[in-house]
Symmetry: C2
Subunit: 513 residues, 2 copies
């Protein structure tokens, strides 16, 4: 390996080490930190993040990237090594460019405005007072437009269809564009609205069994059983309980998940655990070769690919009739009296009940993407300046009526429900729906290659599925852009028809149409 590359990797790993330390500070804050420690913890996190930023924008990294970029040919010999090196330099250059393009002043303004906007959002949501939040949202949009201008500097010029939103989207879905996502979502929107109409014309399923009481320790036993079935490696992670479950990577051998035990709604912990374990299996499985261990290549391809993994385990395995056909008896046993007298068919229908609702995070598989499409359409209009912040509530409600047939009674359960915009996360929402689309497309490819996978899943043997995911999706890490990955793994570009077909097949059985 060339000396410049070794040095670059060394500097990159230092930034990675700080990112993992930062993750521990954040994990501890969510799980175990005593309440009054929050002020100093915020300082500790800000300090480490600022240090990591300084290390990333070090001139030496820029010089090494420039010198390695100018050697047009990668090292002779193994072509896969050369490709790996090219992929690595591309990823690191992207991160470096993003970091150096942001003026320190703007970073500071964004941090300050985000802090104020988040506090204002919490209060506005509590008091159902959108006008109180509106000036903060306007300020965030202004700053995000400035950020987009900095990030796209020298990149979008000459491309007629480059939008400021593209630059923000690229932070989460590298290579994605507003135009391409709009195209995908417009077809998806039509198909989902049609499917929802069909489902709503059918008799509703009964999900009352899901609301039977189930003690936390029973739910913990179910979580432990599922983590074992999924081959989540507890020597490289752990499960804790929090108010809002998440997964976080504190080291290449330390990927922790969280869940929550609601005693009157046990599916919350069941699907949280599977969802977060799905994220963690991806992180635990990334293996871009020892020379790139703990570098920027040792990372997910994108947020949407990450979400494809959590959603695949949660929905395509965890909400499938196939899985529960062979494994429901064990769930009934572990959960004690909760499911007494309930059969597997009733349970599978209950966990797949479709019902238009107001809140994205509580939505079923069919309506979830509609919530996301609504947010994508609104945030791209906000960033483009075609929608004024003051008109957001009415635009939100009109779209809810249009897409889901329900209208929020207030803004708290409408346009104030999500944390994202107050946190400056414009361009993040599409990842949630893209994740479902990737998951379905990967799933189709996997089933072509593993014709017997259904019988494995039914018998509780999830290892063939995991092995396939490891080899095709997890191990390369950030080697491929999401668009490249889906092409390599499935032989075609992103195609939402796999998701629509999956939903139609599944729900025609659940709702008998």
């Amino acid at each position: 390996m060339r000396k410049e590359l070794s040095r670059l990797i060394e500097l990159d790993r230092e930034v990675g080490l700080l990112a993992h330390i930062d993750a521990l500070l954040g994990w501890d804050q969510q799980t175990f930190m005593p309440s009054k420690a929050v002020d100093e913890r915020s300082e500790q996190i800000a300090y480490i993040e600022s240090l990591a930023h300084d290390k990333l924008v070090a001139p030496e990294i820029g010089e090494l990237l420039a010198s390695l970029g100018s050697t047009t040919a990668a090292p002779a010999g193994d072509p896969s090594l050369a490709a790996r090196e090219g992929a690595y330099l591309r990823v690191l250059r992207r991160e470096y460019d993003r970091a150096v393009k942001m003026p320190t002043e703007l970073v500071g303004e964004l941090a300050g405005a985000t802090s104020l906007a988040q506090a204002a959002w919490i209060e506005a949501r509590e008091k159902n007072d959108f006008p109180a939040f509106a000036p903060h949202l306007e300020r965030m949009i202004e700053l995000k437009k400035r950020q987009a201008a900095c990030l796209s500097d020298g990149k979008g010029s000459g491309e007629a269809d480059a939008s400021p939103y593209d630059a923000l989207l690229d932070l989460f879905e590298p290579g994605g564009t507003e135009a391409s996502i709009a195209l995908v979502f417009s077809g998806l929107r039509r198909d989902l609205v049609a499917l929802l109409g069909t489902i709503r014309s059918r008799p509703q399923v009964d999900d009352s069994c899901l609301h039977r009481p189930c003690p936390a320790e029973r739910q913990a036993a179910v979580s432990a059983w599922l983590m074992g079935l999924l081959s989540y490696d507890e020597s490289r992670g752990r499960l804790d309980t929090v108010a809002h479950p998440f997964t976080t990577t504190l080291g290449v051998d330390d990927v922790r998940i969280t869940t929550r035990y609601l005693e009157d709604f046990f599916p919350s912990s069941l699907f949280s655990t599977v969802h977060e374990a799905g994220h963690a299996l991806y992180e635990q499985g990334i293996a871009p070769g020892p020379e790139y261990a703990r570098t920027r290549l040792h990372d997910a391809s994108s947020m949407a690919v990450h979400e494809s993994q959590s959603r695949m385990w949660e929905n395509m395995v965890g909400r499938s009739g196939t899985f529960w056909k062979g494994n429901y008896a064990r769930l009934a046993e572990l959960s004690g009296d909760t499911l007494r007298g309930v059969g597997p068919e009733t349970f599978v229908k209950a966990i797949n009940k479709v019902e238009p609702s107001l809140i994205r995070t509580e939505a079923d598989e069919v309506t979830y993407a509609l919530h996301v499409i609504l947010r994508f359409e609104l945030e791209s209009e906000l960033i483009a300046g075609r929608l004024a912040v003051r008109d957001l509530p009415s635009a939100w409600n009109a779209k809810m009526k249009d897409l889901l047939g329900v209208v929020p009674p207030d803004d708290a359960s409408g346009c104030l429900q999500d944390v994202h915009w107050s946190a400056g996360l414009f361009g993040y929402f599409p990842s949630y729906a893209l994740g479902n689309l990737y998951a379905a497309q990967f799933w189709s490819a996997m089933k072509r290659e593993l014709p017997d996978v259904d019988s494995s899943i039914e018998s509780g043997n999830l290892k063939p599925l995991l092995s396939w995911l490891r080899a095709n999706i997890h191990e390369p890490g950030a080697t491929y852009l999401p668009g490249e990955l889906v092409q390599r793994v499935t032989g075609s570009s992103l195609d939402p028809s796999h998701f629509v077909k999956y939903l139609n097949e599944k729900y025609s059985r659940i709702y008998d149409f």
Copy 2:
């Protein structure tokens, strides 16, 4: 406040922030970290510690200390402010001088040798193979002598009685000297051996009630009750379980303690919790004024003063007849069936049983200091070169016979039992015994000033005691050297007669002499 001082405090706080981040990395490793994360965690810790060291030895700190030191008079105005500033500069200068006096090469050699010595020690102790450990111990002694030479450079010159051991001792007990400790310990040794002889001439107490089974959740309830009685602030800390209990400070508002639940020996958790809470009350109570918050003044006076606080709560409160007279009924209730039929007098005798034993960490209040004196005498001879490493086992066993009347059957339960020497902690052991001496001397002063404290303690009201400790010992933090602190608080220099008197009074009741 002068500009130079403000800047110095700013730099100092940065080092402190890193120390607290380091503490989280260590705490998590001991409590919750998954097993395979250990390699990267070691790197994370080494990285943060090296960064903290670099920040501390920054030339700017040296320049600011020099410039502030040359202004002979502290700022005009409030004399206590001037004194506080003088104390602060003294503490920071001590830390800075220590750090800059250590050559980077020696720091590296010590880190490497310690790592090897600790691994060799674990194996040697397992296999009872002192000769396998001996070369590592020799190497550690050689390096510690070199460290001592660096640290005392330009300081001990001209002082006839300055020893290399003094420089090592000073790391834990600032201002302490080998000669003064040897003097204190020689009298203490004689008095303790005499007391032990008297006790051994009396009928032994029965402590079988302490070995009755007690479920972990019962012990947890006892711990929670005791933490409440001690006013341990759980909004600024938490209790977790580990193999070897400790206390650690992750922030000025984040002081965490640990305990362990042995189901066949519940006093282990009871006294661990009180001991660690005693350490934590000190840390939670340090308050050297807002301008010095989170500086080096926001720290303990010394390891021995720290130990005085843990030992005072553990022994002088937690093992006292006074406390249990009023609070035993609650313990019996919380511990379920464990203490059924056992009266408070039997319990108090049991928890105060004196018996010479081989292992320091399991020793009672009378023999504990003898274990420490033995280690002090041996390590000062090792550092002085008067004792060869190969002769350590026989010297150890001879002193055990001499001081405690028992001889270890093997080195594993003899000179290989403690981690300290393999970790390079020469000069640390005296703190354990000095802590007991300080505790007894503080206790005498407190009782003079709070004549009604016994009845408060008996009724479970520990607040008057805590308030006295806060005002006299906790709040000043590192403002005073331990010698200054004991003088201020008790009106005299360190005087072991308080401890000897305390033990004689207590054990004459327990053993009826």
